[in-house]
C-alpha cells in the first residue's frame, strides 16, 4: 500500500495522517467535548459537558439514572441523528474533525467511533463470521483476505476466537448472552475504530460474564480508546482511568459535576455531591 492514496482519503475525512493512529499512543487527546448539550423536543436532557477523552484510556461516565450518561454517549457518534426531535449543541471533536461540522458524514464518523449497546444485539440472520465482518462490509470492504484477517483479529481481541473458530458459520444466536455481547464487541472492533463507545455493556449479563467483559475492556484499551457508561461504581473503579460524574439538576437535566482521574475522584472528590454518590449515600 502506497502512502499517497491514504493521505488523500484521510484528507477527505478531514484528519491528518497522525490522527489516524491515535489510540496507539496514550496521553494524547482523541475526543474533545465543549459545552455539549442534548435536548429532546426542546427539553434539555443533559447540558454543560466539557472534557477531553485521552487516547488509550478508558473514560467512564457515571451517575444515577436520568443523569444523561447514555444520552451524552450517543452524542459522540451522532446516534441522535436518527431521532427527529433531538438537538445536540456545543462541540464534539474527534481529533481535528468537527463531529457536528457541516461537511462531516455521520456514516464515516461512525466507522471511526464504534458502539456496543446495553443488550447483546447480534444480527439474527447472520452467522458469527458475517456478524463480525458486517461493519467492514457496510463500509465497502470486499477483499476476502482483509475480512478474514479482521475477523480473526477482532474475535481474538474479544476473547471469543477459541470458542467459535470451529463454528464461524453458526448463527450468533447459538451463543450465550455473554458470548453474544463479546461478539458485538468483536463486530465493533473489526472496523478498527479509534474510539469505542460502550453503553452499560454488562447490564444484561450475569456476574461471571460481566467479569470477562470488564477484563476485556482493560485489554482492549491498548488498541482502542474506550468511553463506557456504567451505573455500577465498582465497575467504574475497576475498569476506568478517568471518570465523568453526571447528576440530574433541578430542572431534570443532567450536568457534569466532576471530571478527573478515577482514583482521586473516588477517594478525594472535590465536589460534596460526588462524595455522597461514590459513598453510596444516594443513587
Amino acid at each position: 500500500m502506497t502512502d499517497t492514496p491514504i493521505r488523500h482519503d484521510e484528507e477527505t475525512l478531514g484528519v491528518h495522517a497522525d490522527q489516524a493512529t491515535a489510540g496507539t499512543s496514550s496521553g494524547e487527546v482523541v475526543m474533545t467535548l465543549r459545552d455539549v448539550a442534548v435536548a429532546f423536543g426542546g427539553k434539555t436532557a443533559v447540558r454543560d459537558v466539557s472534557f477531553d477523552v485521552a487516547a488509550g484510556e478508558v473514560t467512564a461516565l457515571i451517575g444515577p439514572s436520568g443523569s444523561g450518561k447514555t444520552t451524552l454517549l450517543r452524542a459522540l457518534n451522532r446516534m441522535h441523528d436518527t431521532v427527529p426531535s433531538a438537538r445536540v449543541t456545543g462541540s464534539v471533536h474527534l481529533g481535528d474533525l468537527d463531529v457536528y461540522g457541516p461537511g462531516t458524514d455521520p456514516t464515516l464518523l461512525r466507522s471511526r467511533v464504534g458502539m456496543v449497546f446495553q443488550r447483546p444485539n447480534p444480527f439474527p440472520t447472520m452467522s458469527i463470521y458475517d456478524n463480525t465482518v458486517s461493519g467492514l462490509r457496510f463500509n465497502g470492504v470486499r477483499k476476502k483476505a482483509l475480512l478474514d484477517e479482521a475477523a480473526e483479529s477482532a474475535l481474538i481481541a474479544a476473547a471469543l476466537w477459541d470458542s467459535v473458530k470451529d463454528r464461524l458459520k453458526a448463527h450468533g444466536s447459538t451463543l450465550s448472552g455473554g458470548e453474544q455481547q463479546r461478539l458485538c464487541i468483536a463486530r465493533a472492533l473489526a472496523v478498527e475504530p479509534e474510539v469505542l463507545l460502550m453503553d452499560e455493556p454488562t447490564s444484561a449479563l450475569d456476574p461471571i460474564a460481566t467479569k470477562r467483559i470488564e477484563e476485556l475492556v482493560g485489554e482492549l484499551k491498548e488498541r482502542v480508546t474506550i468511553v463506557i457508561v456504567t451505573h455500577n461504581m465498582q465497575q467504574a473503579m475497576r475498569v476506568s482511568d478517568r471518570c465523568a460524574f453526571l447528576l440530574m439538576g433541578e430542572d431534570k437535566a443532567g450536568e457534569l459535576i466532576e471530571f478527573g482521574p478515577t482514583g482521586p475522584l473516588f477517594s478525594e472528590p472535590s465536589d460534596p455531591r460526588t462524595l455522597d454518590y461514590v459513598n453510596g449515600r444516594f443513587g
Binding site: 500500500m1 482519503d9 475525512l13 489516524a20 463500509n139 465497502g140 482483509l146 475504530p193 479509534e194
Partner: protein
C-alpha cells in the same frame, strides 16, 4: 509521522487505514445507492397514493352535487319524480351495522381474550378458523346468509343482513383484540397474579383496560369494514325503496343503493348513487381516522 513510518507496521493500524480508505472511497457509491433506493421508495409510494387520491377526489367531485338537505332526510323516489334522497338507505345501513356490531363485538373481544390467554389446541383451532373466516369471499357469506337465514325465516330481512355483516366483522375483531391483549406486557399480568388476583380479575382489571385503545381501534376498523360490504347484503336484505326501520323486513342499505342505482340508465339516479358513494366513503374514512385519533388520545391520557 516519521516515527510511525519507521516503526514496524502494526496490523491493526494498517487495517484501520484500509477500512477508512474503503469507507471513504465507497461513500459516493453508497450515497448514490441510498438516494436511488429512497427515490424508488418515493416512486412506489406515489404509485400507491395516486390512485387512492384520484378515487377520493373523483367521488367527491361527482358525489358532492347530489348532497342537499333532502338527500339526507328523504327516502328514494322513483325515476322521473323530483327530490328524494337516501334516508331509507342510511337507516338500513345504520340499523344493520348496529345489530351486527352489537353481536360481533362482545363475541369477538371475548374470543380475542381467550386466544391471547390460552395456548391450547382449542385456541389454535379457533385462531385458524378466524383466519379462514377473514379469507372467505364475501359473496359466499351472502349465500350462506341466504340459505341459513333468508330461506329458514321466510324472507329477506335486515336481520339476515346483520348476520352476514357480523360474520364479516367477527374475525377482524377477534384478531385485532388478540393482538391488543397480547401487547399487554406479561409482567403486568404477573404483577397482578403475585398480588393474589384471580385470572378473571387480572383480565378485567389489568389486561382489558390496558389493551383498550387497541381493541377500540380494531372494533372501529371492523365497523368500517362492515359498512362497505355489498355482496353479503345483496342476497340477504334484498333492498327496499321505502323507509323501513323494522329489521325483520327487507331493508335498503347504502352499498345496495350504490350497486343498483349506478347501473341505471337515468342520470338523476346515477347522481344519487354518486352522492351515496361519497357519503359511505366519508363515514368509512371518518371511522378509520377517528379510531386512530381516539387510540392516540387514550395512549396519551395514560402517560
Amino acid at each position: 509521522m516519521t516515527a510511525v513510518l519507521d516503526a514496524p507496521p502494526d496490523p491493526a493500524v494498517e487495517r484501520r487505514r484500509a477500512v477508512q480508505a474503503a469507507a471513504a472511497s465507497s461513500l459516493g457509491r453508497r450515497k448514490l445507492a441510498s438516494r436511488v433506493a429512497l427515490g424508488v421508495c418515493w416512486l412506489f409510494l406515489g404509485i400507491a397514493v395516486v390512485p387512492l387520491v384520484a378515487v377520493i377526489a373523483y367521488v367527491v367531485v361527482r358525489g358532492l352535487p347530489a348532497w342537499n338537505a333532502d338527500f339526507f332526510t328523504h327516502s328514494t323516489v322513483p325515476e322521473g319524480y323530483p327530490g328524494g334522497g337516501v334516508w331509507n338507505a342510511i337507516v338500513g345501513t345504520a340499523v344493520i351495522t348496529a345489530i351486527a356490531t352489537a353481536v360481533a363485538v362482545p363475541v369477538g373481544i371475548l374470543c380475542g381474550l381467550f386466544l391471547a390467554e390460552s395456548d391450547g389446541r382449542v385456541a389454535a383451532t379457533l385462531r385458524f378458523t378466524a383466519d379462514v373466516m377473514t379469507g372467505i369471499p364475501s359473496i359466499i357469506v351472502g349465500i350462506f346468509g341466504y340459505i341459513a337465514i333468508v330461506r329458514n325465516t321466510g324472507g329477506y330481512s335486515g336481520f339476515a343482513g346483520a348476520f352476514a355483516i357480523g360474520f364479516i366483522m367477527l374475525p377482524v375483531i377477534v384478531r385485532a383484540a388478540e393482538t391488543a391483549f397480547r401487547g399487554v406486557p406479561r409482567s403486568l399480568n404477573e404483577a397482578a397474579l403475585a398480588l393474589g388476583a384471580r385470572r378473571s380479575t387480572v383480565a378485567r382489571k389489568v389486561v382489558v383496560p390496558t389493551a383498550l385503545p387497541g381493541v377500540i381501534t380494531g372494533v372501529l376498523l371492523a365497523v368500517a369494514r362492515g359498512l362497505g360490504e355489498t355482496a353479503p347484503l345483496l342476497l340477504t336484505i334484498f333492498g327496499n325503496q321505502y323507509l323501513q326501520w323494522n329489521p325483520s323486513k327487507p331493508m335498503e342499505a347504502l352499498p345496495i343503493l350504490i350497486y343498483n342505482y349506478s347501473s341505471q340508465p337515468y342520470a338523476d339516479l346515477v347522481q344519487v348513487a354518486w352522492g351515496a358513494a361519497l357519503l359511505l366513503m366519508a363515514v368509512v374514512l371518518a371511522l378509520s381516522i377517528g379510531s386512530r385519533l381516539l387510540a392516540a388520545y387514550l395512549r396519551k391520557e395514560r402517560r
